[in-house]
Symmetry: C2
Subunit: 241 residues, 2 copies
DNA sequence: TGTACATCAGTGAACGCGCGTTCACTGATGTAC
DNA sequence: TGTACATCAGTGAACGCGCGTTCACTGATGTAC
């Protein structure tokens, strides 16, 4: 009512947005190259600016890092949600599991610097602010959606690999609240196998991206796919043989 | 024959060995504190020496890093082999699996700096030399020994979670050579489930050490134990229920 | 047992470097009247 | 449509810092005779 329409952005605003993106792009390029640390001066040099000019766009190095981290989670989250939405049919839960799982791996291989930033060891001297939490939670939720949907639709077998219900009440409560956060039913029996599977998936991607498979497994796509398959069975997404 | 006995080490040699250890100790302390990067000057300062004195012990920063990495793998490998050897009976394969698995986690929590060094993201500007490969392989072999023993003793059930044999010949060959390296029979059916389980175990430890469980799972020992249990079932170490 | 020489740990100054951040400035773009 | 002022991007110099590494040196420890 008060605002007719978003006003056409001024030239200045448009250029500013472009520069901000360019800075982030160059910063990522540097992080990817030779695994170097992030240096504002190096970024500025690469863009043909003086180092202090970066401060017109980011108030400090840490804020730039935060922006990169949030972008990373968002980019991965988008890719996963796209893959989930694009899996042929919404009720093809197993297909969605594979689609989303493979997307994590492909995204990580295509964006190793972002991946290291969000799933690697903490950066010396940097402390992530709270803003990074919601985008981070999104990726786990995206992986779990097909499992939650399958369970809600009664399409999930019971896993025989899962240990019997825990006797640890606090742990049980933690599982329940994780279930709620991730879109599972509060008393979901699938939440624990799913969290376990997710841990495995990220572990497998870690191994590949950080070179732990070098000189051992070269058929990495096959390797990863077979693990996804095994996890699908463990969760109960596949029909009993 | 030529040497009677190892000659009593001279004072100098003993002091030198002690100093070398002290440098590594202090370096690790710095790596652990606030996740800082490794600085020779900081280490020297902490030891009350001038920075150039470090060069009497390590020819460069990278060589010090290499020494720390090798020590890390060795320390973890020792801990795992101890745990394996100490599990009550050599044929108690499941008990050995739990003992060794929990040892990885406990070691990682007790030595977060070493853990990040060997299983975290690569260090900017550092390239690990070949000397680090054998100590690294040892830990995986230590985790696998109980599985290989169980299989050799005919005590391993077939896993129902494992996908059917691969049709990818190169992948099959890679599995066979991994089997040999890790002390499994060349045509072991357990090698693939084991590698998969190992990926999961390291993934779980990564999540905990790097803070991915914060604000989600506090009952971490329970969480980890249940995953080990599930993996034991998946591998076939537990009797069919 | 004592002397002469070689080895080696540690010093302190210096080199050349890159870093994050601040600050007063210039000149172009945007806004109000 | 034109003028006056405010906003803001980018400059260039400077601050203070820490880093890895080299080098000629001193003085203590070890070795050979």
């Amino acid at each position: 009512m008060s605002a007719e329409k978003a006003p056409a952005p001024s030239i200045r605003a448009r250029v500013r947005a472009e520069m901000t993106e360019e800075i982030k792009r160059v910063a990522l390029k540097h992080l990817a190259q030779d695994g170097s640390a992030l240096s504002l001066r190096a970024v500025a040099r690469d863009m043909g600016m003086v180092s202090s000019a970066i401060y017109r766009y980011f108030p400090s190095r840490d804020e730039l890092l935060t922006a990169l981290i949030i972008d990373g989670y968002t980019s991965l989250g988008d890719a996963m949600e796209d893959a989930d939405g694009n899996a042929e049919r919404r009720d093809a839960h197993l297909a969605r599991w594979f689609a989303v799982g493979h997307t994590i791996r492909k995204w990580a291989l295509a964006h190793p610097a972002e991946y290291a930033l969000i799933y690697g060891s903490p950066i010396p001297g940097y402390h992530a602010p709270m803003d990074t939490v919601p985008p981070a939670a999104r990726t786990l939720a995206a992986l779990g959606r097909c499992v939650a949907d399958a369970e809600a639709a009664g399409k999930l077998r019971d896993s025989d690999a899962t240990p019997p219900p825990t006797e640890n009440a606090e742990y049980a409560a933690e599982l329940r609240s994780a279930a709620v956060v991730l879109g599972f039913a509060e008393d979901s029996r699938a939440i624990e196998p799913f969290l376990s599977a997710a841990t495995h998936v990220y572990g497998a991607v870690n191994f590949e991206v950080f070179g732990r498979l070098n000189n051992a497994i070269d058929q990495r796509s096959e390797w990863f796919d077979r693990q996804l398959r095994q996890l699908a069975t463990m969760i109960g997404l596949t029909p009993r043989p």
